[in-house]
Amino acid sequence: MNSAANRGRRIALYVAIVIILLWTVVPVAWMAISSLKNPADVLSRTPLLNFAPTISNYSGLFTGGNNLLSYIRSSVLTAGISTILATALGSLAGYGLARSNMRGKRHLAFWIITTRMVPIAAVILPLYIGFTYLHLINSIWALIVAYLSFNLPFAIWIMNAFFADLPPGLEEAARVDGASRMQTFYRIAVPLTAPGIVTTAILCLVFSWNDYAFAVTFSGPGSATLPVAASQLITQTGVNWGQLTAIGTVVALPMVIIGLAVRKYLVRGLTLGAVTGE
């Protein structure tokens, strides 16, 4: 093997990787940088890298009529409660599905996965009418229920895959020792699938935290979430890009951190169990 050619190929590889990384990182980095600029610097005609950083865009979000705190509260409550409900109910049902031999299991599984895949634009309509009848528009419960519509089937399906992976021997041993089915579930199966449960919860949190379509349709002043707050900065009179990049950073950063924390299990989760990771 020609070592010079080999070396050239390796250099070309790393050059390509650097270009790909730049394409990936520049937009988000520019968002974070712009969020630290004062209004004049954000609107500079030539890109500025040499500027006096300020946190005024962030502090500005917490003063004035549209305090970001209420949006943060709504985002945390809707995404959080929906995630907890989906993960809890989904773990129980996923275990049941994984261990079940009932007739029609295939149809049940198909129905569950279909509910996860339905276009949001189509689901919005009947839910909107239902929530209007129930006077839930502008309540955080409308969003929690709407997020359950995609988080619950997701959680059932993924947890089914994680529970199906467990070797049957351990649970059989526990049963021989006199444990009930329920005890076997929470003493053996749940601890062994802990990484799977955490991955499920984190992905549910990301999906609902990042939702905009449901949030803008079902929420009012009392339940509007952070993505809605971001879109509200675009007004007839102009866009406050400094504050917008600040909200963008606030929305994106926590999800990037928790998402990468479960990187090892992401493939499993994001392919609905179809592909096993590293």
Binding site: R45, F110, A122, P126, T271, V275
Partner: protein
């Protein structure tokens, strides 16, 4: 009642309430004129198949589907090509592979609505950073979101930026699962990189690549936030894909029954994709 069914029951009851009931209501909606007036009362008025008849002759809906198909093919196609290509490159890396992968995955976690807004900021004709780069290099000097073609290309690239990492992640999992010995055996037999790719690696990861394609296709039908926030379907409907049209019919023209009719067609399409997906899962032995 069996233990398994008892475990499933709470979730299935909730899921039925928020999926089966709305599904049948959606069908009922297509047969009615349902107008939203002031958000107070909603009174359906039976009109039979008139929404359906209208939809099949509505040029706006037709245009929305055509835009959707072009957008779908362009984004999903580019994401697959780039995703597989990048995964092959990352797989060749000797050092720095984990860090690279972590950085590559970042866009996936950024809310689509933020991606749309950020894209709009970057290509703004007066202070957008990417617009400045294109202007100073004389590649493109106009208003990017103002032209039909340039706006379309821009929203496609925003979507590609956000979702290519998903394809990289899934394909890489496939590449890692190909046993080293198999590739080494090919090398010993004198197969070059491209031959190994075509005859050894390709066939072993084709199933996983298909999973990636279907997952991405289903999500491409689900989300429309990126376009909504960057161009809102403009200029002059150049980027108005079908879910945006549906949303406009429902919440700007306040014609929920007609919007539901458009929604049913989208739903049918996603069910078809889900059928393909479960077929693959079954072949891979992942469901009964």
């Amino acid at each position: 009642m069996s233990f398994e069914l008892k475990m499933m029951l709470p979730a299935l009851i909730v899921l039925a309430a928020i999926s089966i009931v709305p599904f049948f209501y959606l069908i009922y909606m297509t047969l009615n004129k349902i107008s939203l007036v002031g958000g107070t009362g909603i009174s359906p008025q039976w009109i039979g198949l008139r929404n359906w008849a209208r939809m099949f002759t509505d040029p706006d809906v037709g245009a929305g589907w055509i835009t959707m198909v072009i957008f779908f093919v362009a984004t999903v196609g580019l994401e697959m090509l780039l995703g597989i290509g990048i995964a092959l490159l990352v797989h060749e890396m000797v050092w720095g592979r984990n860090v690279t992968l972590s950085i590559l995955l970042i866009p996936m976690f950024v809310a689509p609505v933020i991606v749309g807004l950020l894209g709009r900021f970057l290509v703004n004709p007066t202070y957008g950073m990417y617009a400045w780069v294109l202007r100073t290099t004389h590649i493109f000097t106009g208003n990017i979101l103002g032209g039909h073609v340039s706006a379309f290309v821009a929203v496609v690239l925003m979507d590609v930026w956000e979702w290519t990492p998903l394809i990289v992640l899934i394909t890489l999992a496939g590449l890692v699962s190909v046993p080293d010995q198999v590739i080494e055996a090919g090398r010993v037999d004198g197969a070059g990189y491209w031959q190994r790719l075509r005859h050894i690696v390709g066939p072993s990861i084709s199933g996983i690549v298909l999973v990636a394609l279907l997952i991405r296709a289903m999500d491409a039908l689900r989300y429309f936030d990126v376009i909504w926030q960057s161009t809102a379907g403009g200029p002059a409907n150049a980027t108005k894909i079908i879910p945006l049209r549906l949303y406009e019919v429902a919440f700007q023209f306040l014609d929920l029954g007609y919007a539901a009719t458009i929604g049913i067609v989208m739903l049918a399409l996603s069910i078809a994709l889900a059928t393909l997906f479960t077929g693959i899962l079954r072949r891979r032995g992942l469901i009964g």
